[in-house]
Amino acid sequence: MNEMKPSVSSGRKLSGVWIIPLVAAVIGLWMVIHTAMTEGPSITIDFKTAEGLEAGKTKVRILSHEIGLVEDVVLKADVSGVTATVKLDPEAKPLLREDTQFWVVRARVGAGGVSGLGTLLSGAYIEMAPGAAAEGRKAYVALEAPPLTAVGAPGLRLTLFSDRAGSVSIGNAVLFHGYRVGRVEAATFNSDRQQVRYDIFIDAPFHELIHSATRFWDISGIDFDASATGIQLNTGSMETVLLGGLSFGTPPGVAAGEPVADGTEFTLYGSYNAILENPYEYGTHYVVSFRQSLRGLAPGAPVEYRGIQVGRVERILLKELSGMGMGADRTDVPIPVLIYLEPGRLQIPDSEDSVSLLRTNIEQSVRDGMRATLQTGNLLTGRQLISFDFYPEQAAAELGQFEQYTTVPTIDTGLAQLQTQVSELFKKLNALPLEETVAGTNRAVAKLDGALVSLTAALDSANAMLSSTDTTELSGELVASLQKLRVVLDGFSQNAELYKSLNASLRSLDATLDNTRNLTRQLSDKPNSLLLPARTEPDPIPRANRQ
């Protein structure tokens, strides 16, 4: 039988109307995703101050092209600065790297020049310098000043260390032979090394000039140097004189080294002279001790061997000396001076082997009579230097030891030596037995009296001899000679022609002098009387006595 069976269904069927919210949801989701996909990144930048920053107005630019806007500026909780929230265009997203830099461009006036004048009218903006490192950073710290070197600029970034800050500052030029090839990017004090650290950047292609033997020196201002060798004046360009700067080069006679990598450390020398004095890498320390005055012996003073510089004075070891307590006899303690000898200065290779060779040589030379002396290098400035030379008369000596240093024996020379000699002479004079000598002399004089008595007797004998016939003949000749002499002298007597002629001449001279005296008197009365007529005042007339 064919029964009618009811078709049973749940009766619940999805209504077509639901498609609408579904589509809306899809669209919404798509919109969210699209927005998220197409919206530019939002980042935060920390600034020290909010000067020039304004939410909704301050723009972010790259190469003067606008890529974003400051959305919000909030004060940090610890009031150490402000944090700006910046909305960037999507195109800027790939530029946001780890090393991307931001800074505020505003009008700046400094020693290096004037910049950002345009912002006086348009208002400050944030400049962005894209980086090259990994992407993904969202929070940045702004630079205080525009970076001196663009990120990724070709060149070489080096680190210099100097014992003193000098006048080198950020932005100063780095010169090579006077031409600007780079700049100082940062100057900080490194407390670990107790030195000033300078970060410098050498632009390509000049970075190829830098190698391991390159030396850097300060050419700021005017370098005035009065040393044992004389007086010297060095200046760089006008910019470096006024603002400061660095220069680099290779010391004369030093071969070029290996190329260097980014971040290599160099020493910054105070002057070119300092480099000339320290062009060598290897050297050795010695100590020389002097009893004479060390006035004028400054650190850096030359150490010479027969006039050729072989090293320099490092310092006077007063601290070490005081640490030793000076011993019992404080008056005769020599003062130790630390010197640094460099074998490279003797035209032998600048290496460790040469240092060993030098030490061996010095040891042998001291046995042969080599000594160190203190000498005056410049009489004008009184600078002193230490000189090595051979003194064969000196007794053989050996090298000594002071603290960790080897000592070379010394002798006094020059004034000190003279002083010692004079002092010894006086000592000897004092020691002379003068009183005994005088007493002896008195005795000798007494004996002389006796001798004189004998002499008188001898003279009596001589008189007797002179009165003998032979001697009388001799006096006859003497009389004849005297007569001849008289004849000659008669020529000068008052009646002689010569005398009369002379007398006449003298009278003539006397008359001339009289006239001259009158003329002198007249000229003295009236200096112009030779040119102008003489005064015609009449003489006063003597009057007869009427009384």
Binding site: N495, P538, D539, P542, A544, N545, Q547
Partner: protein
């Protein structure tokens, strides 16, 4: 050109202006020269000096308070230190009757020497001439001073003018010569001419 001529003319006129005439006086003795015939002098004038203020050509006039004026236009013809030698020698010689050497040509023959210094010889405003002198008689052999004398006298001027002054000074010098002559041979007992 004209100014130049004018200046030249001024100079020529200036040069042409008349200067007072110069009158010179000789100091000569009025005694006749008889001595030349006599024997060589045994006495002579040795050192003769005059004070600086009269060692000048002009005759000197004292105008009071020590102020003196050497005349420009009335002068001795010879320097006084020269003419005085011969004047005094002649006068002394005339007074003593012996030869007196004026110059030291034959000084080696002298036994005595006279050293004379004229200290003052000038006219004064009070109308007189004044002469102050001193002399020494010296033994020429032993070079010892035998005697020293001085002379100081004045003579009134007989008239105005330098002629009268010269005359008065000559009179004074003659009296000085007489005074010297009186002392000359007295010391050693020689006969001396009588002079007041």
């Amino acid at each position: 050109m004209k100014p130049l001529l004018a200046i030249l003319a001024v100079f020529i006129v200036g040069c042409a202006s008349k200067a007072p005439e110069l009158t010179q006086y000789l100091l000569r003795t009025d005694t006749p020269d008889r001595i030349a015939e006599q024997a060589p002098a045994s006495t002579g004038i040795g050192i003769l000096t005059v004070a600086s203020y009269i060692d000048t050509p002009g005759l000197v006039l004292e105008s009071g308070n020590g102020e003196v004026h050497a005349a420009r236009h009335h002068q001795w013809a010879d320097p006084l230190r020269e003419s005085l030698r011969s004047f005094l020698a002649s006068e002394i010689s005339a007074a003593t009757g012996r030869a007196i050497g004026a110059y030291s040509y034959r000084e080696s023959d002298w036994k005595r020497r006279l050293d004379i210094h004229i200290d003052q010889l000038h006219g004064s405003v009070d109308g007189s001439a004044k002469l102050v002198a001193n002399w020494a008689v010296i033994d020429a052999t032993n070079q010892t001073v035998l005697a020293e004398h001085s002379f100081s006298e004045t003579e009134p001027l007989s008239a105005d003018g330098y002629d009268a002054l010269v005359r008065a000074e000559k009179n004074l010098l003659s009296r000085l010569a007489n005074a010297i002559a009186a002392t000359l041979f007295r010391e050693s007992g020689h006969e001396a001419s009588s002079q007041s």
